[in-house]
């Protein structure tokens, strides 16, 4: 049975190309992907996760306002009884030439299970999700997940 994951770009961010590629990759890897598209609010993520009984929420943000857009997101998930959900965030998460390590720590502190930068290959996220959702590996996997994530 395919596992359901919610995918979307948060806030007023309209960068759609990344999630288009991710959707296709997760789909090809056998997941049931619900793509909410760009400019998705926190509420929409929570509603979709509830409605579709999702096991993971994948948040994308490219334009630099991720921190402001994600404020209170995990509290909202917890209120909806989704406190245990696996949550990933990826993209260009800060404005400017940030220190990737600091950025990762900041978003982990906000509650995200894993934090990915914009160099992430879809395969890395897929492999991470297999680990986190305890899905047995299939032949289709290619790159091992990076050590640091």
């Amino acid at each position: 049975m395919p596992r359901t994951v919610i995918l979307g770009v948060i806030g007023s961010d309209a960068h759609v190309v990344g999630i288009t590629i991710l959707e296709q990759a997760f789909d090809a890897a056998g997941f049931d992907v619900v793509n909410l598209g760009v400019q998705t609010s926190q509420e929409e993520f929570v509603e979709a996760a509830l409605a579709r009984d999702a096991e993971a929420v994948l948040v994308s943000s490219l334009y630099g306002h991720a921190a402001q857009d994600c404020r209170g997101f995990h509290e909202r998930l917890a209120e909806a009884g989704l406190g245990d959900l696996t949550t990933y965030i990826g993209g260009n998460l800060a404005v400017g030439q940030d220190d990737p390590e600091e950025t990762r720590e900041r978003f982990e502190a906000m509650g995200f299970t894993r934090v990915f930068d914009s160099e992430t290959e879809p395969e890395e996220a897929i492999e991470a999700l297999r680990v986190d959702l305890e899905i047995p590996p299939t032949e289709s996997e290619r790159d091992p997940v990076r050590a640091r994530t």
Binding site: G11, S12, D13, A14, V16, V17, T20, I21, Q24, G37, V38, Q39, Y63, G64, H65, A67, Q68, N92, A94, V95, G96, Q97, D98, S118, E119
Partner: protein, 478 residues
Amino acid sequence: MVRDEKLSESELRRVADDLRGDWPTAEAVDFRESVEYHEALPPSKRFAEVLESADRPLLQPRAGVPRLDDQVRLLTHLLEDGRADLLPTTIDSYTRDNEYAKAQEGLEEARETGEDTLNGFPAVNHGVDGCRELIERIDGPVEVRHGTPDARLLAMVTFAGGFQSFEGGPVSYNIPYTKRRDLAETIEHWQFVDRLAGLYTEFGVRINREPFGPLTGTLVPPCIAIAVMLIEGLLAATQGVRSVTLGYGQVGNLVQDVAALRALRALGEEYLPDEVAVTTVFHEWMGGFPPDEARANGVIGLGGATAAVAEPDKVITKSPQEFRGVPTMEANAAGLRTTRQLIDMLAEQEITLDGVDDEQAFIERSTRCLVDAVLERGDGDVAAGTVRAFEAGALDVPFAPSESAKGAVLPARDDDGRVRILEFGDLALSDDIRETHAARLDERATTEQRPCSFRMVADDVDAISEGRLIGRPREGES
């Protein structure tokens, strides 16, 4: 249905009065006084004149930070160390969403923490005085660059604030930039912006308007981009705009890029009324960049070389830090200088490429198909026709996040690296044109021994960031 008609002055005034309530700084906007303010600006700050009288491609970066002093410092650096000819002020994303309260929050946070918590300059929040201070402290022409579907208040404030150039348009700042904005409404909003620019123009302040050519920046077929440029140019002209800069984003194939820029200029001059001064702007590669500054410099180098051959009036440069995030001012200036060096080394060389004329003819023919389809659907009215054409998918943009576009078009590169169309959806291209696209992509499929598919498109999307132009299958794949 929205129509391509000139807004009356009373309508303009009514809307302007309505908008005044949207944010406190709007109160300070006074048209007559602003015209006088513009008249007092020195020639070096008159955007349209500087651009239209240039005898070589002018360079302009993108740049915007939340705080005023920082923005002055940034633009001064780009002027002095980057030798930019034209300057930008890039607006933050909340302002683009008309979320002035959120922008205010970000601005205050920026002021407190000293960090750039916004991805641009919130001009509405800075208000007329803030904008004028910026214009006064910068010794060059400055343009508002943004991505705002409803830019009416932004235009009111920034025009009053002394800016003489304004990027965007109802299609180019809706379809690639937002999800749920109604296209007809966006056209109305931009009729206001254009009418306001037109009014300034009538009072002797020629505001330059620049439709955003690159659209989604990702493998946009030239005919689609140019069709949108013509539509927005026509809409602006109707409202009295007399200085229009049509844009185009590099696709990376030298012949196709040169051909597209020539087609853009030729069709722009043909379609737009004679009283409009048409200029062109070339955007260095707008898609995903390599995650490596050295390789990014290679991409910028190809952009500069292409500009040198095609000779647009203006070039929007990229920085080697494009991949990672908003660049430091040093990196931004570096992108300018790398581009300048290439253009100036190539400028005096006569470079004539085979195949440009054929490709240009093909692009022009395709663009005419699209624009004709728009006009037909609007019974001659470009505004109504645009709405209907997008509804029907007769006009469409690849990777469009907007619900106002079908988003059914899928582009892919052919064996020579030119961007062709793989999935047309209902795009209004004639059969013979479609066949040409299909034939070129079949050649590639044969070379690669794999079918044309989304896999190919995805590979093309990543190709430049991975150090090549065409997304050939990697070893072991097919």
